[in-house]
């Protein structure tokens, strides 16, 4: 006696059932105008629902591509804004000092890998030397500083994250203009500490903290975060806690900035050092 194959038998029965029902529906549709309209209405409703769902699924899976396009578009628009600011500054040099095209070149990038749960966090970006990325370029987002490029391959860059105990960036308090090194607090992905602020500078919680522009890596006036409580260190300086605008745990798109005049800056520094010798 042949062994029974229930699953195959069930599938076959289901297929025959569907075929017989389709045959019945076709006969019904061909023999009555009323039933034909009714079936057409049902099938149109079903098709509309199916297409709608398919479209929604397709849209969901194309979101990454759309985000990439938007990041590129954002960068293009920022370049246009920088161009207008440059033109405005050239027309009226007495206006607010222009900080747009101050020798920085901008490259949009996507984070392909990142670590945020150690004391020495890093990022890997999808742009490399073929895209014009060089070592010691800054990495920023619209909400702050993200890190510094440490190594570059043809298609990828390795960046030391701001969430790294070894990274300090020069930052400035908005109201007083006091400048000091800003470093990660080592506790959360959105906390930092602004150090070495002399006591004579007036300070109030809620001040915005910006990049100072004193380093050759980051341009000035990138908003970084909001100043919080301060404590006096060794009776000489204030150490201010800062709540960063950018939460580093939710980050995907960044911009790499390269200072195109860094060689000139280094050259003048070296010359001065040689003169002193």
């Amino acid at each position: 006696m042949p062994k029974e194959r229930p699953l195959v038998s069930k599938i076959f029965s289901l297929a025959v059932f569907i075929l017989l029902e389709i045959a019945s529906l076709l006969m019904l549709s061909n023999n009555s105008e009323l039933q034909k309209l009714w079936l057409a209405r049902i099938s149109h409703g079903f098709m509309a629902k199916t297409w709608g769902t398919t479209q929604a699924i397709g849209n969901y899976f194309s979101l990454k591509g759309q985000n990439d396009e938007l990041a590129l578009e954002n960068e293009r628009l920022r370049a246009v804004v920088r161009g207008y600011e440059q033109a405005s500054h050239d027309a009226d040099p007495s206006s607010r000092p222009f900080d747009g095209d101050n020798g920085f070149h901008y490259i949009p990038a996507t984070i392909v890998k990142s670590a945020t749960n150690t004391q020495h966090n890093y990022l890997i970006l999808d742009k490399g030397s073929d895209d014009g990325v060089v070592e010691n370029s800054g990495v920023i987002s619209p909400k702050g500083v993200i890190g510094i490029v440490d190594a570059v391959s043809k298609h990828y860059s390795f960046a030391i994250s701001f969430l790294n105990k070894e990274v300090n960036i020069s930052a400035r308090l908005d109201t007083s203009g006091a400048v000091g090194p800003l470093a990660w607090d080592g506790k959360s992905t959105s906390g930092a500490v602004l150090k070495e602020i002399p006591l004579q500078f007036k300070y109030s919680p809620g001040d915005t903290v910006y990049t100072s522009g004193y380093s050759a890596i980051f341009p000035p006036d990138i908003p970084l975060g909001i100043a919080g409580e301060a404590k006096v260190i060794n009776g000489a300086t204030n150490e201010i806690s800062v709540s960063l605008f950018q939460d580093h745990s939710a980050l995907k798109y960044v911009t790499i900035i390269e200072n195109t005049r860094i060689a000139e800056i280094e050259e003048i520094e070296n010359r001065k050092k040689e003169d002193k010798k």
């Binding site: 038998s9 025959v16 059932f17 045959a23 019945s24 006969m27 023999n31 009323l34 039933q35």
Partner: protein
């Protein structure tokens, strides 16, 4: 025995044609004995065979009685498709495992009544939906289902003994 069953089955199909052609008591009542006929098919008939029998029976009634071609076949094939699952659920696995045919004498009036009502309800839901084709209000379809189910059950329970082997022996 086999020939007797086939003969009785054909006779009942003819009876269904007569019911469809001449017994129009009310727009709310649609008499059918086709689901009970599928229920009483011998248990050695598997699902695939039952579906083919149901399709042929439905088409024969559609073809020879007044009505839209395909509507009885459309409604009866699902009854045959779910026959095995419903019989297992109502009567247990015994009928199919031991190849025992269903009868009131063996399984009792209540269980057979419940099975007929369930089979007939599946048939009528599809039949009424396809027949009304979205042109009738829900209350009308509900009323038609209720009255038709009651009338069909009463006719089917009377005729079900004719198709039962054991009761005839």
């Amino acid at each position: 025995m086999k020939n007797t069953f086939v003969f009785t089955y054909v006779l009942m199909t003819v009876a269904q044609m007569i019911l469809s052609n001449y017994c129009h008591f009310s727009p709310y009542v649609m008499l059918t004995i086709l689901p009970a006929m599928i229920l009483c098919l011998p248990t050695k008939v598997n699902t695939l065979e039952a579906m083919l029998i149901a399709f042929a029976t439905g088409l024969a009634v559609d073809w020879l009685a007044e009505g839209t071609l395909g509507i009885n076949a459309l409604s009866l094939v699902p009854v045959a498709f779910f026959r095995r699952y419903l019989i297992d659920a109502i009567f247990g696995v015994e009928p199919f495992e031991q190849k025992e045919n269903l009868s009131i004498k063996k399984y009792g009036f209540a269980r057979m009544s419940f099975a007929i009502i369930l089979f007939t309800a599946i048939f009528l839901v599809i039949y009424i939906a396809a027949d009304c084709a979205g042109t009738r209000p829900l209350w009308f379809m509900g009323a038609m289902l209720g009255f038709s189910l009651l009338a069909s059950y009463m006719v089917s329970i009377l005729l079900v003994n004719l198709l039962s082997y054991d009761d005839r022996r």
